[in-house]
Subunit: 219 residues, 2 copies
């Protein structure tokens, strides 16, 4: 694949925005992050309300705090020991290996970006501990997130989103002073990547499209 | 603003993706739509499940069917007569004027693109007629939609998303044979635009970002 930089056309860029979960601990100038986030905020939103806020974690102790809870949440969900040395023959392979790499080294990423959204999405959530709270504005925040991923790729920064923080979101809100009026939609560790950006593999749109009427039998 | 084409870098493109609601009825080759949708499907999704489907409406009668229900839904919500001649001194101005233009001419757009998402989003919706049905996968569909808007802009196509179809979504499902396993996330009328793409206006990211801790008092 050709090298990508700020002069690369969008069509040549979009197919190589892979989830990059292995990051170098090397510092990344904050000017690059501002550039990324200022691309993020170009996203559309209903009535141009721009209902996003960013929490950028760079402090080592706060990154460590987040990483520990994240690892516990992963253990709770997948049952794999937090300590890599204790995983034995359960050591994950393939994509799961890179997900665990992200977890094991999360505190070392130069930045943990939490993209937050105002809770004005017009659906109530009937979850055990969330009844009555509207979800964050996914319809605005996710386009912003996509812009962020495209901008990271343009600048050669590795990024990959995760939503596992939802397991400890109440604690997260308390620790970072996030008000109930916002939800944390995604966490994106950002840094220079280890390894190369390969192309993504996707089913062609033609196989995902119905003309004028859904095909009977396809569900 | 410089002219934009397929050679334009992403950073020079992203700030001019305005909601273009005034469209020419001129036909658009379907090859352009495949190009747009194949950019859309490059978006990331959890476990690469690609939980999107597209319903592309091009048949004049089906567009008319959609446009009529859309206009009724708008009237229900905003109270403005469906017939422009009966609006009198209530004729809308500014952004609302363009929203009404989109409504009045919806059946003339060459394409109405319905972007659908699999109902696997992990929140139940407690709405009067939707209890128990999970919402469509916003976290995958909206990044795909953002790619679609960026691709339309690159090719000089006008596009603007709306979610007003939700008012008549049950009827929509029945008419187009959309199974309950999918939700219609956005409707995007697409065509050559009337008027020019101007730059978007956004609050800079620096004013939307907290470093390491949310600012007390900001909510």
């Amino acid at each position: 694949m050709q090298s990508i930089d700020e002069s690369t056309p969008f069509f040549d860029l979009v197919g190589s925005v892979r989830a990059m979960r292995k990051l170098k601990p090397d510092p990344v100038p904050i000017e690059m992050i501002w550039k990324v986030l200022n691309v993020g905020v170009q996203a559309p939103s209903g009535q141009n309300k721009q209902p996003w806020k960013f929490l950028l974690i760079q402090d080592p102790e706060r990154k460590q705090w987040f990483a520990e809870r994240y690892a516990n949440a992963m253990q709770e969900r997948f049952g794999l020991p937090v300590d890599p040395a204790k995983r034995g023959d359960k050591t994950p392979k393939g994509t799961l290996a890179s997900i665990y790499h992200q977890m094991d080294h999360m505190a070392e990423a130069p930045y943990l970006l939490l993209v937050c959204g105002k809770r004005d999405w017009p659906f109530k959530v009937a979850e055990k501990d969330r009844v009555g709270l509207a979800p964050p504005n996914y319809g605005a925040v996710y386009p912003c997130v996509q812009n962020i991923l495209l901008a990271c790729r343009t600048l050669g920064l590795g990024a990959a989103l995760t939503t596992m923080h939802q397991v400890f979101e109440d604690e997260l809100h308390a620790h970072f002073g996030i008000p109930d009026t916002y939800g944390v939609v995604v966490t994106i560790p950002i840094g220079y990547p280890i390894g190369r950006f390969g192309p993504v593999t996707r089913i062609p749109a033609q196989e995902k499209t119905f003309l004028d009427h859904w095909d009977a039998g396809d569900s």
